[in-house]
């Protein structure tokens, strides 16, 4: 490639070389200073963001004695696993982790399968009232959780299903308006010719969906899996309302309960918080790229 200086200057991209030399030197110096300033501000931002995480991890690995007697900023000394041991032994934290994992698994599979089916119907199948139904679906996105939980509570009470696994799962397992909306947009971008060709070859709707449409939609599905895992691992209000006692407590409810039960037992509560956060931070590290795109799509919360 020729050096840029020798090229004509399209849209005034570069100043003529002769005059530019001193100017550019000054500009570069200023830019370097500016860069240093930008890095400094970003560094402060990063420290402020990471600080609370570091402090909660540090606290989780301290002995209660150290936390009580030393500055809360002091690093753990000795580093101890006793909070975690206690958490799982007497804090009964095994069950919440298992329950939450089960809920997340069932909700993710159910929501995905049913949302994919519905989104395909809304995007590609023709039936009476299709578009009206879809808009009704979208409108439900605006309904705040705090409105629906009260009737849902009485509904589950009426069928005597409060404090059960199904109570945790049913309101979410049949799909999610968000997922359906996002999948429908994606499915509409898949060339109709592909689907028609498969139809001509005799493939039924079910096979077309799972053998053609779904493999082509891997990126959006991966994104949705992550959103759903994160959302339901973190879900709080509904499990808080519909469960009583330790049997079906999810991890968020158990952690919040720990705080009121062992008031001021900071090291134990922070160990629980760490357990609740750790899987998400791992998911986050593994699927960073998908998470970025999913945040821009939905905002998470």
């Amino acid at each position: 490639m020729t050096s840029p200086e020798q090229l004509p200057t399209p849209r005034g991209r570069r100043r003529p070389a002769g005059i530019a030399e001193p100017l550019r030197a000054a500009g570069q110096r200023r830019r370097r200073l500016g860069d240093a300033g930008a890095y400094l501000v970003l560094l402060v931002g990063a420290v402020l963001t990471l600080g609370p995480f570091v402090l909660s991890f540090m606290t989780a690995f301290k002995t209660p004695q150290q936390f009580a007697s030393e500055s809360s900023l002091a690093p753990p000394d000795p580093v101890t696993g006793e909070n975690f041991a206690r958490l799982f032994a007497e804090g009964g934290f095994v069950s919440p982790v298992v329950v939450t994992a089960q809920v997340v698994l069932v909700v993710v599979v159910g929501q995905l399968v049913f949302s994919i089916m519905a989104a395909f119907a809304f995007a590609r199948l023709r039936f009476r009232g299709r578009d009206a139904l879809f808009w009704l679906f979208l409108a439900t996105l605006m309904v705040p959780q705090v409105v629906t939980v009260i009737p849902l509570y009485t509904m589950f009470t009426a069928v005597d299903a409060r404090n059960t696994f199904w109570a945790l799962v049913l309101p979410f397992v049949f799909g999610s308006p968000y997922a359906i909306f996002l999948l429908r947009e994606y499915f509409r971008g898949i060339p109709a010719d592909l689907i028609d060709a498969a139809r001509i070859d005799g493939a039924g709707t079910w096979r077309i969906l799972w053998l053609i449409v779904v493999p082509l939609s891997r990126p959006i599905i991966a994104t949705l899996v992550i959103i759903t895992v994160v959302t339901h691992w973190n879900n709080f209000m509904w499990p808080l309302i519909i469960t009583t006692g330790p049997t079906w407590q999810t991890i968020t409810v158990a952690t919040a309960a720990l705080q009121s039960q062992y008031n001021a037992n900071w090291t134990l509560v922070m160990a629980a918080t760490t357990v609740a956060m750790a899987p998400l931070l791992v998911v986050f590290a593994l699927f960073q790229r998908h998470i970025v795109s999913s945040i821009s799509l939905t905002g998470f919360r």
């Binding site: 995480f53 023709r126 039936f127 705090v146 629906t148 939980v149 709080f236 918080t273 919360r301």
Partner: protein, 298 residues
């Protein structure tokens, strides 16, 4: 290929309703029905233990108008929204602008700043209690080390409210930053260079080139953030529980406490929940109208 010629366009697909059925069951049973029931409940009293329902007409709405805690919750929710939405957007935009100019390590900074977004509102609230606790809290330790007077983060209303706002900003800045960063990367470099040639300074280029082009991002963030702030619950519930007194009570926590707290007043709770819904609805419609007029004007 024309639409009519597509085989799938001929007639109707019998499977259509079947494929949509599970999702419609969801919408019907777990979203629309509860929504309608909430409307009905708001006109009734539901006995805490027996669940016996009695019609009280508009009584809950009359109560609401004279309820000082409700007034406080509305005020707090409005204030919380008015501070966290512009606050998180301004900080996110500032960080995005800085990151956009700094190439190496951009991904690393971005990763760090959106880390708080993936953890639960409960975890955020608990980390908040670790930071803001009045006796053992980290901020108190830091203030002492810097020779600053201690702040009553828990016992003083305004300070407790500030703690909720601060921890919310900690979470939300990552979100606004990502959206703005994506928006900034779509701004053509040529426009800035042209501006520079014309003698426009940094601020002028931002004001007249970058900011208008970020319009869609700003609009999206405004809608998402306002809806989020109206509905805030988890973090406030865990961090302050609405207290001290009702200094940090928001509509979400008040509706929850009314329906599921000691009072168990589910009728009034449903009426309070509906207020959150109406706020969300009105705001969404206003935004939608605004965006339509803007699109038509453009």
């Amino acid at each position: 290929m024309s639409r009519a010629a597509r085989p799938s366009a001929v007639g109707r697909d019998r499977e259509g309703p079947a494929f949509a059925a599970p999702a419609l069951l969801l919408a019907g049973t777990f979203l629309v029905l509860p929504m309608l029931l909430a409307g009905v409940y708001s006109f009734t009293d539901i006995a805490p233990l027996s669940g016996a329902v009695s019609w009280v007409g508009l009584q809950h709405y009359a109560t609401m108008l004279a309820d000082p805690v409700f007034a406080r919750a509305v005020l707090n929710t409005a204030l919380f929204t008015a501070v966290t939405v512009p606050g998180s957007m301004a900080l996110g935009l500032a960080l995005a602008l800085l990151m956009n100019s700094v190439l190496p390590a951009r991904a690393l900074f971005r990763t760090v700043v959106y880390l708080p977004l993936v953890i639960s509102g409960v975890a955020v609230g608990l980390i908040g209690t670790l930071l803001f606790n009045e006796t053992t809290g980290v901020l108190q330790t830091l203030a002492a080390a810097l020779g600053l007077p201690p702040v009553s983060w828990q016992s003083s209303g305004p300070a407790a409210f500030a703690s909720v706002v601060l921890i919310t900003l900690w979470v939300r800045v990552g979100f606004t930053m990502i959206i703005y960063l994506a928006g900034l990367q779509a701004v053509p470099v040529e426009l800035h260079e042209a501006g520079q040639v014309e003698g426009a300074g940094r601020w002028q280029r931002f004001r007249w080139i970058t900011w208008p082009l970020l319009g869609p991002a700003t609009f999206f963030l405004l809608v998402m953030s306002v809806i989020y702030s109206f509905q805030v619950f988890d973090t406030v519930f865990v961090l302050t529980g609405g207290g001290p007194g009702s200094a940090t009570e928001v509509l979400g926590t008040y509706a929850y406490d009314t329906a599921f707290g000691p009072a168990r007043d589910q009728g009034y709770g449903a009426a309070l929940g509906l207020v959150v819904f109406v706020f969300t609805l009105v705001f969404t419609l206003l935004q939608w109208r605004a965006s339509r007029t803007r699109d038509e004007a453009a």
